[in-house]
Amino acid sequence: MKILIAEDELALQQSIKVYLEHDGNVCEIASDFHEAQEKVDLYDYDVLILDINLETGSGLEVLRTLKKNNKKVGVVIISANSSLEDKLEGLDLGADDYITKPFHLAELNSRIKAVLRRGKFGGNDTIIFNEIRIDTRSRTAYVNDKPITLTRKEYDLLLFFISNQGRVLSKEIIAEHLWGDNSDLLDNFDFIYVHINNLRKKMKDTGTRYIKTAYGSGYKFMAE
Protein backbone atom coordinates (compact mmCIF):
# COMPACT_ATOMS: atom_id res chain seq x y z
CA MET A 1 0.00 0.00 0.00
CA LYS A 2 1.11 3.52 -0.70
CA ILE A 3 0.40 5.89 2.12
CA LEU A 4 0.89 9.66 2.45
CA ILE A 5 1.28 10.99 5.97
CA ALA A 6 0.45 14.71 6.07
CA GLU A 7 1.45 15.77 9.57
CA ASP A 8 3.53 18.78 10.55
CA GLU A 9 4.58 17.35 13.90
CA LEU A 10 7.73 15.53 12.81
CA ALA A 11 8.06 13.19 15.77
CA LEU A 12 4.50 11.95 15.29
CA GLN A 13 4.95 11.75 11.54
CA GLN A 14 8.04 9.57 11.93
CA SER A 15 6.42 7.30 14.51
CA ILE A 16 3.44 6.68 12.24
CA LYS A 17 5.80 6.02 9.34
CA VAL A 18 7.85 3.48 11.31
CA TYR A 19 4.73 1.66 12.48
CA LEU A 20 3.07 1.47 9.08
CA GLU A 21 6.22 0.53 7.16
CA HIS A 22 6.53 -2.52 9.37
CA ASP A 23 3.68 -4.02 7.39
CA GLY A 24 5.50 -3.46 4.13
CA ASN A 25 3.61 -0.29 3.24
CA VAL A 26 5.35 2.47 1.32
CA CYS A 27 5.04 5.68 3.31
CA GLU A 28 5.64 9.15 2.02
CA ILE A 29 5.51 12.23 4.17
CA ALA A 30 4.30 15.79 3.82
CA SER A 31 5.32 18.18 6.57
CA ASP A 32 3.20 21.16 5.67
CA PHE A 33 0.10 22.17 3.80
CA HIS A 34 1.79 23.02 0.48
CA GLU A 35 3.75 19.81 0.39
CA ALA A 36 0.56 17.88 1.04
CA GLN A 37 -1.33 19.74 -1.69
CA GLU A 38 1.49 19.15 -4.14
CA LYS A 39 1.88 15.47 -3.41
CA VAL A 40 -1.80 14.56 -3.60
CA ASP A 41 -1.91 16.49 -6.85
CA LEU A 42 1.09 14.75 -8.43
CA TYR A 43 0.89 11.21 -7.14
CA ASP A 44 -1.68 8.57 -6.38
CA TYR A 45 -1.99 7.06 -2.92
CA ASP A 46 -4.11 4.33 -1.45
CA VAL A 47 -4.45 6.13 1.84
CA LEU A 48 -3.91 9.68 3.03
CA ILE A 49 -3.40 10.29 6.74
CA LEU A 50 -4.31 13.92 7.13
CA ASP A 51 -3.78 16.29 10.03
CA ILE A 52 -6.42 19.02 9.89
CA ASN A 53 -4.34 21.69 11.58
CA LEU A 54 -1.34 21.81 9.27
CA GLU A 55 0.96 24.69 10.04
CA THR A 56 0.48 26.57 6.79
CA GLY A 57 -3.10 25.71 5.99
CA SER A 58 -6.11 23.57 6.72
CA GLY A 59 -6.19 19.88 5.93
CA LEU A 60 -9.80 20.40 4.92
CA GLU A 61 -8.47 22.38 1.95
CA VAL A 62 -6.47 19.32 0.85
CA LEU A 63 -9.68 17.32 1.00
CA ARG A 64 -11.41 19.84 -1.25
CA THR A 65 -8.60 19.55 -3.78
CA LEU A 66 -8.91 15.76 -3.75
CA LYS A 67 -12.64 15.96 -4.26
CA LYS A 68 -12.25 18.46 -7.10
CA ASN A 69 -9.69 16.27 -8.87
CA ASN A 70 -11.93 13.28 -8.30
CA LYS A 71 -9.11 11.22 -6.85
CA LYS A 72 -9.93 7.97 -5.12
CA VAL A 73 -7.94 8.01 -1.93
CA GLY A 74 -8.93 6.59 1.43
CA VAL A 75 -8.61 9.46 3.91
CA VAL A 76 -8.18 9.17 7.66
CA ILE A 77 -8.20 12.51 9.44
CA ILE A 78 -6.10 12.91 12.58
CA SER A 79 -6.94 15.98 14.61
CA ALA A 80 -6.20 17.50 17.97
CA ASN A 81 -9.70 18.92 17.95
CA SER A 82 -12.46 16.63 19.06
CA SER A 83 -15.24 18.98 18.02
CA LEU A 84 -18.12 17.39 16.24
CA GLU A 85 -18.31 20.15 13.62
CA ASP A 86 -14.77 19.48 12.43
CA LYS A 87 -15.48 15.80 12.26
CA LEU A 88 -18.69 16.21 10.30
CA GLU A 89 -17.11 18.70 7.93
CA GLY A 90 -14.21 16.34 7.30
CA LEU A 91 -16.50 13.39 6.63
CA ASP A 92 -18.68 15.59 4.43
CA LEU A 93 -15.68 16.49 2.33
CA GLY A 94 -15.03 12.83 1.63
CA ALA A 95 -12.85 11.68 4.51
CA ASP A 96 -13.46 8.05 5.43
CA ASP A 97 -12.61 8.18 9.10
CA TYR A 98 -11.71 10.64 11.79
CA ILE A 99 -9.47 9.93 14.77
CA THR A 100 -8.68 12.31 17.60
CA LYS A 101 -5.20 12.83 19.00
CA PRO A 102 -3.81 11.16 20.98
CA PHE A 103 -4.49 7.76 19.44
CA HIS A 104 -2.83 4.37 19.45
CA LEU A 105 -0.94 3.49 16.29
CA ALA A 106 -2.61 0.08 16.34
CA GLU A 107 -5.96 1.86 16.31
CA LEU A 108 -4.88 4.05 13.38
CA ASN A 109 -3.64 0.98 11.56
CA SER A 110 -6.89 -0.92 12.01
CA ARG A 111 -8.86 2.13 10.84
CA ILE A 112 -6.67 2.37 7.71
CA LYS A 113 -7.29 -1.28 6.95
CA ALA A 114 -11.02 -0.83 7.43
CA VAL A 115 -11.00 2.11 5.03
CA LEU A 116 -9.15 0.03 2.45
CA ARG A 117 -11.58 -2.85 2.83
CA ARG A 118 -14.59 -0.76 2.04
CA GLY A 119 -15.78 -1.52 -1.40
CA LYS A 120 -15.44 1.87 -2.99
CA PHE A 121 -11.73 1.40 -3.59
CA GLY A 122 -12.21 -2.01 -5.07
CA GLY A 123 -11.28 -3.48 -1.74
CA ASN A 124 -12.10 -6.88 -0.47
CA ASP A 125 -14.74 -7.71 2.11
CA THR A 126 -12.90 -10.85 3.03
CA ILE A 127 -9.84 -11.12 5.23
CA ILE A 128 -7.88 -14.33 5.08
CA PHE A 129 -5.23 -15.38 7.54
CA ASN A 130 -4.13 -18.97 6.98
CA GLU A 131 -7.16 -21.09 7.92
CA ILE A 132 -9.09 -18.08 9.29
CA ARG A 133 -11.49 -16.23 7.01
CA ILE A 134 -13.50 -13.19 8.02
CA ASP A 135 -16.41 -11.84 6.04
CA THR A 136 -16.52 -8.20 7.15
CA ARG A 137 -19.84 -7.56 5.45
CA SER A 138 -21.75 -10.19 7.43
CA ARG A 139 -19.34 -9.88 10.38
CA THR A 140 -18.75 -13.64 10.43
CA ALA A 141 -15.55 -15.55 11.07
CA TYR A 142 -14.72 -18.98 9.71
CA VAL A 143 -12.01 -21.42 10.72
CA ASN A 144 -11.30 -24.03 8.04
CA ASP A 145 -14.54 -22.85 6.38
CA LYS A 146 -16.56 -23.64 9.48
CA PRO A 147 -18.35 -20.58 10.92
CA ILE A 148 -17.67 -19.79 14.55
CA THR A 149 -20.16 -17.88 16.67
CA LEU A 150 -18.51 -14.82 18.15
CA THR A 151 -19.94 -12.09 20.32
CA ARG A 152 -19.62 -8.52 19.04
CA LYS A 153 -16.59 -7.86 21.23
CA GLU A 154 -14.91 -11.14 20.30
CA TYR A 155 -15.39 -10.36 16.62
CA ASP A 156 -13.96 -6.84 17.08
CA LEU A 157 -11.07 -8.32 18.98
CA LEU A 158 -10.26 -10.86 16.27
CA LEU A 159 -10.41 -8.21 13.57
CA PHE A 160 -8.17 -5.92 15.62
CA PHE A 161 -5.68 -8.73 16.14
CA ILE A 162 -5.52 -9.65 12.47
CA SER A 163 -5.27 -5.98 11.42
CA ASN A 164 -2.30 -5.59 13.73
CA GLN A 165 -0.73 -8.99 13.25
CA GLY A 166 2.82 -9.30 14.42
CA ARG A 167 2.41 -6.35 16.78
CA VAL A 168 2.45 -6.31 20.54
CA LEU A 169 -0.89 -5.09 21.78
CA SER A 170 -0.95 -4.03 25.40
CA LYS A 171 -4.13 -4.41 27.41
CA GLU A 172 -4.44 -0.62 27.43
CA ILE A 173 -4.55 -0.52 23.65
CA ILE A 174 -7.04 -3.40 23.42
CA ALA A 175 -9.28 -1.90 26.14
CA GLU A 176 -9.40 1.42 24.37
CA HIS A 177 -10.16 -0.20 21.06
CA LEU A 178 -13.05 -2.20 22.51
CA TRP A 179 -14.54 0.33 24.90
CA GLY A 180 -13.18 3.73 23.90
CA ASP A 181 -13.36 6.37 26.61
CA ASN A 182 -15.30 4.06 28.88
CA SER A 183 -12.24 1.86 29.26
CA ASP A 184 -10.99 4.03 32.09
CA LEU A 185 -13.80 2.57 34.18
CA LEU A 186 -12.00 -0.73 34.26
CA ASP A 187 -10.30 -1.24 37.58
CA ASN A 188 -8.33 -4.06 36.08
CA PHE A 189 -8.12 -5.74 32.74
CA ASP A 190 -9.76 -9.02 33.75
CA PHE A 191 -12.52 -8.25 31.27
CA ILE A 192 -10.05 -8.40 28.40
CA TYR A 193 -8.61 -11.63 29.69
CA VAL A 194 -12.10 -13.14 29.71
CA HIS A 195 -12.84 -12.03 26.15
CA ILE A 196 -9.50 -13.25 24.83
CA ASN A 197 -9.85 -16.56 26.58
CA ASN A 198 -13.31 -17.08 25.12
CA LEU A 199 -12.04 -16.19 21.66
CA ARG A 200 -9.19 -18.66 22.00
CA LYS A 201 -11.57 -21.41 23.13
CA LYS A 202 -14.02 -20.79 20.30
CA MET A 203 -11.24 -20.98 17.74
CA LYS A 204 -9.96 -24.18 19.39
CA ASP A 205 -6.30 -24.89 18.75
CA THR A 206 -6.16 -22.24 15.98
CA GLY A 207 -6.78 -19.59 18.61
CA THR A 208 -4.16 -20.80 21.01
CA ARG A 209 -1.74 -21.11 18.17
CA TYR A 210 -2.02 -17.55 16.88
CA ILE A 211 -3.00 -15.45 19.92
CA LYS A 212 0.21 -15.35 21.87
CA THR A 213 1.18 -13.73 25.08
CA ALA A 214 3.91 -11.12 24.88
CA TYR A 215 5.95 -9.84 27.83
CA GLY A 216 3.70 -11.65 30.27
CA SER A 217 0.75 -9.28 30.00
CA GLY A 218 0.47 -8.19 26.37
CA TYR A 219 -0.78 -10.03 23.32
CA LYS A 220 0.56 -10.65 19.88
CA PHE A 221 -1.28 -12.24 16.98
CA MET A 222 1.04 -14.10 14.64
CA ALA A 223 1.59 -17.20 12.61
CA GLU A 224 4.11 -19.57 14.15
Binding site: E9, A11, L12, S15, I16, V18, Y19, H22, I78, A80, N81, S82, S83, L84, T100, K101, P102, F103, H104, L105, A106, K153, R167, V168, S170, K171, E172, I173, E176, W179, D181, N182, S183, D184, L185, L186, F191, A214, Y215, G216, S217, G218
Partner: protein, 401 residues
Protein backbone atom coordinates in the same frame (compact mmCIF):
# COMPACT_ATOMS: atom_id res chain seq x y z
CA UNK B 1 -24.80 67.02 72.69
CA UNK B 2 -24.23 70.68 72.05
CA UNK B 3 -27.78 70.94 70.88
CA UNK B 4 -29.10 69.47 74.10
CA UNK B 5 -27.05 71.88 76.29
CA UNK B 6 -28.23 74.79 74.17
CA UNK B 7 -31.79 73.59 74.46
CA UNK B 8 -31.56 73.30 78.27
CA UNK B 9 -30.03 76.79 78.58
CA UNK B 10 -32.76 78.25 76.37
CA UNK B 11 -35.41 76.57 78.49
CA UNK B 12 -33.88 77.99 81.69
CA UNK B 13 -33.60 81.49 80.24
CA UNK B 14 -37.15 81.31 78.99
CA UNK B 15 -38.31 80.17 82.40
CA UNK B 16 -36.56 83.07 84.22
CA UNK B 17 -37.82 85.61 81.70
CA UNK B 18 -41.41 84.40 81.95
CA UNK B 19 -41.20 84.39 85.74
CA UNK B 20 -39.95 87.97 85.89
CA UNK B 21 -42.50 89.13 83.34
CA UNK B 22 -45.35 87.54 85.23
CA UNK B 23 -44.17 88.98 88.57
CA UNK B 24 -43.96 92.44 87.09
CA UNK B 25 -47.38 92.14 85.60
CA UNK B 26 -48.88 90.89 88.89
CA UNK B 27 -47.32 93.75 90.83
CA UNK B 28 -48.56 96.31 88.37
CA UNK B 29 -52.04 94.92 88.60
CA UNK B 30 -51.95 94.98 92.42
CA UNK B 31 -50.82 98.59 92.47
CA UNK B 32 -53.54 99.63 90.10
CA UNK B 33 -56.22 97.81 92.08
CA UNK B 34 -55.03 99.35 95.34
CA UNK B 35 -55.20 102.78 93.75
CA UNK B 36 -58.67 101.98 92.52
CA UNK B 37 -59.87 101.05 96.04
CA UNK B 38 -58.14 104.05 97.55
CA UNK B 39 -60.12 106.28 95.26
CA UNK B 40 -63.26 104.38 96.05
CA UNK B 41 -62.80 104.92 99.80
CA UNK B 42 -61.71 108.57 99.45
CA UNK B 43 -65.03 109.27 97.78
CA UNK B 44 -66.66 108.22 101.03
CA UNK B 45 -67.97 104.91 99.82
CA UNK B 46 -68.07 102.18 102.38
CA UNK B 47 -65.36 99.62 101.84
CA UNK B 48 -66.29 96.07 100.81
CA UNK B 49 -64.16 93.07 101.60
CA UNK B 50 -64.16 89.99 99.37
CA UNK B 51 -62.00 87.37 100.98
CA UNK B 52 -59.39 86.42 100.04
CA UNK B 53 -58.93 88.93 97.17
CA UNK B 54 -59.90 92.16 98.89
CA UNK B 55 -59.51 92.72 102.60
CA UNK B 56 -60.21 96.22 103.94
CA UNK B 57 -60.17 97.06 107.65
CA UNK B 58 -59.80 100.07 109.90
CA UNK B 59 -56.52 100.26 111.79
CA UNK B 60 -55.11 102.53 114.44
CA UNK B 61 -51.88 103.62 112.83
CA UNK B 62 -50.50 104.07 109.39
CA UNK B 63 -48.15 101.38 108.17
CA UNK B 64 -45.94 101.56 105.10
CA UNK B 65 -46.89 99.91 101.86
CA UNK B 66 -45.73 96.27 101.75
CA UNK B 67 -45.59 93.84 98.87
CA UNK B 68 -45.16 90.18 99.82
CA UNK B 69 -46.08 86.58 99.09
CA UNK B 70 -48.49 84.82 101.35
CA UNK B 71 -50.07 81.42 101.63
CA UNK B 72 -53.82 81.29 102.08
CA UNK B 73 -56.39 78.57 102.29
CA UNK B 74 -58.75 78.59 99.33
CA UNK B 75 -62.06 77.17 100.55
CA UNK B 76 -63.31 76.59 97.03
CA UNK B 77 -60.38 74.61 95.84
CA UNK B 78 -59.77 73.22 99.30
CA UNK B 79 -56.07 73.77 99.20
CA UNK B 80 -53.47 76.25 100.23
CA UNK B 81 -52.54 78.56 97.39
CA UNK B 82 -49.77 81.05 96.96
CA UNK B 83 -50.89 84.64 96.66
CA UNK B 84 -49.14 87.93 96.03
CA UNK B 85 -50.34 90.51 98.45
CA UNK B 86 -50.08 94.28 98.62
CA UNK B 87 -50.99 96.04 101.78
CA UNK B 88 -51.31 99.80 102.09
CA UNK B 89 -52.80 102.09 104.73
CA UNK B 90 -54.74 105.16 103.68
CA UNK B 91 -56.31 107.96 105.62
CA UNK B 92 -59.90 108.99 104.98
CA UNK B 93 -62.18 110.97 107.20
CA UNK B 94 -59.58 110.71 110.00
CA UNK B 95 -59.59 107.02 109.90
CA UNK B 96 -56.93 104.71 108.73
CA UNK B 97 -57.97 102.02 106.33
CA UNK B 98 -55.66 99.16 105.66
CA UNK B 99 -56.28 97.76 102.13
CA UNK B 100 -54.92 94.31 101.32
CA UNK B 101 -55.26 93.15 97.71
CA UNK B 102 -54.23 89.61 96.75
CA UNK B 103 -53.94 87.81 93.50
CA UNK B 104 -53.09 84.21 92.64
CA UNK B 105 -49.61 83.66 91.42
CA UNK B 106 -48.96 81.24 88.55
CA UNK B 107 -46.65 78.71 90.14
CA UNK B 108 -43.13 78.18 88.82
CA UNK B 109 -43.89 74.49 88.39
CA UNK B 110 -46.70 75.22 85.95
CA UNK B 111 -44.55 77.55 83.90
CA UNK B 112 -41.81 74.99 83.82
CA UNK B 113 -44.10 72.18 82.68
CA UNK B 114 -45.59 74.47 80.05
CA UNK B 115 -42.17 75.30 78.66
CA UNK B 116 -41.10 71.67 78.56
CA UNK B 117 -44.29 70.55 76.84
CA UNK B 118 -44.01 73.24 74.19
CA UNK B 119 -40.34 72.46 73.66
CA UNK B 120 -40.96 68.76 73.23
CA UNK B 121 -43.82 69.38 70.84
CA UNK B 122 -41.70 71.71 68.73
CA UNK B 123 -38.84 69.23 68.72
CA UNK B 124 -41.10 66.36 67.69
CA UNK B 125 -42.66 68.31 64.89
CA UNK B 126 -39.24 69.50 63.70
CA UNK B 127 -37.89 65.96 63.82
CA UNK B 128 -40.76 64.51 61.79
CA UNK B 129 -40.60 67.23 59.19
CA UNK B 130 -36.82 67.05 58.89
CA UNK B 131 -36.98 63.26 58.66
CA UNK B 132 -39.25 63.31 55.63
CA UNK B 133 -37.41 66.15 53.96
CA UNK B 134 -34.08 64.39 54.43
CA UNK B 135 -35.49 61.12 53.28
CA UNK B 136 -36.78 62.41 50.01
CA UNK B 137 -33.63 64.46 49.42
CA UNK B 138 -31.36 61.51 50.19
CA UNK B 139 -33.31 59.21 47.96
CA UNK B 140 -32.82 61.58 45.10
CA UNK B 141 -29.19 62.17 45.95
CA UNK B 142 -28.26 58.47 46.31
CA UNK B 143 -30.33 57.21 43.40
CA UNK B 144 -27.33 56.79 41.05
CA UNK B 145 -25.48 54.90 43.79
CA UNK B 146 -28.29 52.41 44.28
CA UNK B 147 -28.66 51.94 40.53
CA UNK B 148 -24.98 50.99 40.38
CA UNK B 149 -25.30 48.75 43.42
CA UNK B 150 -28.19 46.83 41.87
CA UNK B 151 -26.26 46.38 38.65
CA UNK B 152 -23.31 45.10 40.63
CA UNK B 153 -25.55 42.61 42.42
CA UNK B 154 -26.78 41.18 39.14
CA UNK B 155 -23.24 40.82 37.79
CA UNK B 156 -22.18 37.30 36.91
CA UNK B 157 -19.09 36.08 35.11
CA UNK B 158 -21.15 33.49 33.29
CA UNK B 159 -23.53 36.06 31.92
CA UNK B 160 -22.74 37.28 28.47
CA UNK B 161 -24.56 40.58 29.04
CA UNK B 162 -22.07 43.38 29.57
CA UNK B 163 -22.68 45.68 32.55
CA UNK B 164 -22.29 49.40 31.93
CA UNK B 165 -22.55 51.83 34.83
CA UNK B 166 -24.17 55.05 33.71
CA UNK B 167 -22.48 58.35 34.38
CA UNK B 168 -24.02 60.50 37.09
CA UNK B 169 -23.89 64.25 37.71
CA UNK B 170 -22.45 63.64 41.16
CA UNK B 171 -18.71 63.61 40.81
CA UNK B 172 -17.96 60.96 43.45
CA UNK B 173 -20.51 58.53 42.04
CA UNK B 174 -19.29 59.20 38.56
CA UNK B 175 -15.80 58.37 39.70
CA UNK B 176 -17.03 55.18 41.37
CA UNK B 177 -18.90 54.11 38.23
CA UNK B 178 -15.88 54.73 36.05
CA UNK B 179 -13.74 52.61 38.36
CA UNK B 180 -16.36 49.85 38.38
CA UNK B 181 -16.55 49.89 34.59
CA UNK B 182 -12.80 49.53 34.35
CA UNK B 183 -12.73 46.79 37.00
CA UNK B 184 -15.49 44.75 35.39
CA UNK B 185 -14.10 44.97 31.93
CA UNK B 186 -10.77 43.79 33.36
CA UNK B 187 -12.45 40.88 35.16
CA UNK B 188 -14.33 39.89 32.00
CA UNK B 189 -11.21 40.01 29.88
CA UNK B 190 -9.23 38.00 32.40
CA UNK B 191 -11.98 35.44 32.71
CA UNK B 192 -12.38 34.96 28.99
CA UNK B 193 -8.59 34.75 28.64
CA UNK B 194 -8.55 32.10 31.32
CA UNK B 195 -11.27 30.12 29.56
CA UNK B 196 -9.45 30.41 26.26
CA UNK B 197 -6.20 29.46 27.98
CA UNK B 198 -7.71 26.26 29.40
CA UNK B 199 -8.99 25.25 25.99
CA UNK B 200 -5.74 26.17 24.25
CA UNK B 201 -3.57 24.31 26.73
CA UNK B 202 -5.76 21.25 26.50
CA UNK B 203 -5.63 21.30 22.71
CA UNK B 204 -1.91 21.92 22.64
CA UNK B 205 -1.33 19.01 24.99
CA UNK B 206 -3.02 16.56 22.63
CA UNK B 207 -0.16 16.47 20.12
CA UNK B 208 2.67 15.79 22.61
CA UNK B 209 0.48 13.11 24.16
CA UNK B 210 -0.04 11.59 20.72
CA UNK B 211 3.74 11.57 20.17
CA UNK B 212 4.35 9.90 23.53
CA UNK B 213 1.76 7.26 22.84
CA UNK B 214 3.06 6.58 19.32
CA UNK B 215 6.64 6.27 20.54
CA UNK B 216 5.69 3.85 23.29
CA UNK B 217 3.96 1.63 20.75
CA UNK B 218 6.98 1.60 18.50
CA UNK B 219 9.26 0.78 21.43
CA UNK B 220 7.19 -2.18 22.66
CA UNK B 221 7.17 -3.54 19.13
CA UNK B 222 10.94 -3.78 19.08
CA UNK B 223 11.82 -7.15 20.46
CA UNK B 224 14.80 -6.04 22.48
CA UNK B 225 13.07 -4.86 25.64
CA UNK B 226 12.64 -6.82 28.85
CA UNK B 227 9.38 -7.74 30.55
CA UNK B 228 10.08 -5.15 33.23
CA UNK B 229 10.62 -2.42 30.66
CA UNK B 230 7.40 -3.47 28.97
CA UNK B 231 5.54 -3.07 32.24
CA UNK B 232 7.01 0.39 32.68
CA UNK B 233 5.97 1.42 29.19
CA UNK B 234 2.42 0.17 29.52
CA UNK B 235 2.21 1.99 32.81
CA UNK B 236 3.14 5.19 30.96
CA UNK B 237 0.38 4.33 28.48
CA UNK B 238 -2.05 4.34 31.36
CA UNK B 239 -0.90 7.74 32.53
CA UNK B 240 -1.08 9.17 29.03
CA UNK B 241 -4.62 7.87 28.93
CA UNK B 242 -5.40 9.65 32.20
CA UNK B 243 -3.99 12.91 30.91
CA UNK B 244 -5.98 12.48 27.73
CA UNK B 245 -9.19 11.99 29.67
CA UNK B 246 -8.42 15.00 31.82
CA UNK B 247 -7.84 17.06 28.71
CA UNK B 248 -11.03 15.95 27.08
CA UNK B 249 -12.99 16.94 30.14
CA UNK B 250 -11.33 20.31 30.45
CA UNK B 251 -12.11 20.94 26.79
CA UNK B 252 -15.77 20.10 27.34
CA UNK B 253 -15.91 22.51 30.29
CA UNK B 254 -14.19 25.25 28.29
CA UNK B 255 -16.48 24.69 25.33
CA UNK B 256 -19.58 25.01 27.47
CA UNK B 257 -18.10 28.18 28.95
CA UNK B 258 -17.44 29.50 25.48
CA UNK B 259 -20.97 28.70 24.37
CA UNK B 260 -19.89 26.30 21.65
CA UNK B 261 -22.77 23.88 22.01
CA UNK B 262 -25.74 25.60 20.54
CA UNK B 263 -27.44 22.97 18.43
CA UNK B 264 -30.22 21.62 20.61
CA UNK B 265 -32.22 18.65 19.42
CA UNK B 266 -35.08 16.74 20.99
CA UNK B 267 -33.67 13.77 22.80
CA UNK B 268 -35.54 10.72 24.00
CA UNK B 269 -34.07 10.24 27.44
CA UNK B 270 -35.12 6.63 27.84
CA UNK B 271 -33.56 5.63 24.55
CA UNK B 272 -30.34 7.47 25.36
CA UNK B 273 -30.09 5.85 28.78
CA UNK B 274 -30.81 2.38 27.42
CA UNK B 275 -28.06 2.79 24.83
CA UNK B 276 -25.52 4.04 27.34
CA UNK B 277 -26.39 1.32 29.83
CA UNK B 278 -25.84 -1.35 27.17
CA UNK B 279 -22.34 0.02 26.67
CA UNK B 280 -21.58 0.00 30.36
CA UNK B 281 -23.03 -3.43 31.04
CA UNK B 282 -20.23 -4.80 28.95
CA UNK B 283 -17.44 -3.53 31.18
CA UNK B 284 -19.06 -3.25 34.54
CA UNK B 285 -19.72 -5.96 37.09
CA UNK B 286 -22.69 -3.93 38.30
CA UNK B 287 -26.17 -4.61 37.12
CA UNK B 288 -28.50 -1.87 35.97
CA UNK B 289 -32.20 -1.41 36.57
CA UNK B 290 -34.08 1.18 34.57
CA UNK B 291 -37.53 2.42 35.66
CA UNK B 292 -39.35 4.73 33.37
CA UNK B 293 -42.86 5.87 34.03
CA UNK B 294 -43.23 8.20 31.12
CA UNK B 295 -41.68 9.15 27.85
CA UNK B 296 -39.33 11.98 28.65
CA UNK B 297 -37.84 14.18 26.01
CA UNK B 298 -35.40 16.98 26.59
CA UNK B 299 -34.15 19.64 24.27
CA UNK B 300 -30.39 19.94 24.34
CA UNK B 301 -27.20 19.37 22.39
CA UNK B 302 -27.04 15.61 21.68
CA UNK B 303 -23.35 15.42 22.51
CA UNK B 304 -23.86 17.13 25.86
CA UNK B 305 -26.84 14.89 26.60
CA UNK B 306 -24.61 11.89 26.06
CA UNK B 307 -21.86 13.38 28.22
CA UNK B 308 -24.39 14.15 30.94
CA UNK B 309 -25.80 10.61 31.12
CA UNK B 310 -22.37 9.05 30.65
CA UNK B 311 -20.89 11.01 33.53
CA UNK B 312 -23.77 10.20 35.86
CA UNK B 313 -23.48 6.49 35.07
CA UNK B 314 -19.68 6.52 35.21
CA UNK B 315 -19.82 8.16 38.61
CA UNK B 316 -22.28 5.57 39.87
CA UNK B 317 -20.16 2.69 38.55
CA UNK B 318 -16.91 4.09 39.96
CA UNK B 319 -18.26 4.55 43.46
CA UNK B 320 -20.48 1.55 43.94
CA UNK B 321 -19.43 -1.78 45.38
CA UNK B 322 -18.81 -4.41 42.70
CA UNK B 323 -21.77 -6.56 41.68
CA UNK B 324 -24.29 -4.13 43.22
CA UNK B 325 -27.26 -2.78 41.32
CA UNK B 326 -27.42 0.73 39.93
CA UNK B 327 -30.95 2.10 39.79
CA UNK B 328 -31.93 4.56 37.10
CA UNK B 329 -35.31 6.20 37.26
CA UNK B 330 -36.89 8.42 34.64
CA UNK B 331 -40.06 10.13 35.75
CA UNK B 332 -41.56 13.14 34.06
CA UNK B 333 -38.93 15.82 33.73
CA UNK B 334 -36.56 14.07 36.11
CA UNK B 335 -33.84 11.47 36.03
CA UNK B 336 -32.35 9.75 39.06
CA UNK B 337 -29.24 7.61 39.26
CA UNK B 338 -28.76 5.76 42.53
CA UNK B 339 -25.90 3.55 43.60
CA UNK B 340 -25.29 1.74 46.86
CA UNK B 341 -23.04 3.20 49.48
CA UNK B 342 -22.37 2.79 53.18
CA UNK B 343 -22.82 6.38 54.28
CA UNK B 344 -23.45 9.88 53.09
CA UNK B 345 -20.42 11.49 51.49
CA UNK B 346 -18.59 13.87 53.78
CA UNK B 347 -18.80 17.07 51.73
CA UNK B 348 -22.00 17.04 49.68
CA UNK B 349 -21.79 20.76 48.97
CA UNK B 350 -18.37 20.38 47.37
CA UNK B 351 -19.37 17.39 45.28
CA UNK B 352 -19.86 19.34 42.07
CA UNK B 353 -16.65 21.35 42.38
CA UNK B 354 -13.81 20.88 39.92
CA UNK B 355 -11.14 18.43 41.06
CA UNK B 356 -13.02 17.54 44.22
CA UNK B 357 -12.54 13.87 45.00
CA UNK B 358 -14.37 12.18 47.81
CA UNK B 359 -12.05 9.23 47.69
CA UNK B 360 -8.46 9.87 46.71
CA UNK B 361 -7.77 6.21 45.96
CA UNK B 362 -9.83 6.25 42.84
CA UNK B 363 -8.14 7.24 39.64
CA UNK B 364 -10.84 9.76 38.90
CA UNK B 365 -10.21 13.07 37.18
CA UNK B 366 -12.51 14.82 39.63
CA UNK B 367 -14.25 16.53 36.73
CA UNK B 368 -17.13 14.19 35.91
CA UNK B 369 -19.68 15.68 38.27
CA UNK B 370 -18.51 19.23 37.71
CA UNK B 371 -19.25 18.68 34.01
CA UNK B 372 -22.71 17.41 35.00
CA UNK B 373 -23.27 20.53 37.05
CA UNK B 374 -21.91 22.76 34.27
CA UNK B 375 -24.22 21.23 31.67
CA UNK B 376 -27.16 21.59 34.06
CA UNK B 377 -26.50 25.24 34.77
CA UNK B 378 -25.97 25.87 31.04
CA UNK B 379 -29.47 24.61 30.31
CA UNK B 380 -31.06 25.77 33.56
CA UNK B 381 -31.53 22.24 34.91
CA UNK B 382 -31.11 21.44 38.59
CA UNK B 383 -28.78 18.73 39.77
CA UNK B 384 -28.76 17.54 43.34
CA UNK B 385 -27.34 14.86 45.59
CA UNK B 386 -28.89 13.20 48.57
CA UNK B 387 -28.27 10.07 50.59
CA UNK B 388 -31.13 7.67 51.07
CA UNK B 389 -30.57 6.37 54.61
CA UNK B 390 -33.17 3.60 54.37
CA UNK B 391 -31.99 2.17 51.09
CA UNK B 392 -28.33 3.10 51.75
CA UNK B 393 -28.03 4.75 48.38
CA UNK B 394 -26.32 7.78 46.91
CA UNK B 395 -28.97 9.46 44.78
CA UNK B 396 -28.11 11.92 42.03
CA UNK B 397 -31.06 13.68 40.54
CA UNK B 398 -31.49 16.01 37.61
CA UNK B 399 -34.64 18.03 37.10
CA UNK B 400 -35.09 19.21 33.55
CA UNK B 401 -37.22 22.25 34.21
Amino acid sequence: MMNIILLVLTAIALFIYTRVLLDDETEEELYSQVAFYEQHIQKGNSPISISPIIDIKIVATKTPTVLKDTMMYDARQKEIELYREISRTIKSSDRYYQIKIRTLIIESEDIFIGIIISFISVLLIAFVILFFINKSRNEKLWAPFFTSLNKLKSFSLESREPIIFESSNIEEFNDLNNRLNALISKINTDYSNLKQFTEDVSHEAQTPLAIMQAKIENIINKSDISDIQYEEFTSIQKDVKRLTQLNKRLIILAKIDNDQFSKPKTIDLKQLITERVEDFEDISENSFQIDHNSKTTIKMDPYLAEVLINNLLTNAIKYSPSKSTIHIKVDGAMVQVANSGAKMISNPDRLFERFYKENSNKKATGLGLSIVSKICSYYGFTCSYRFNEIGKQHVFQIDFI
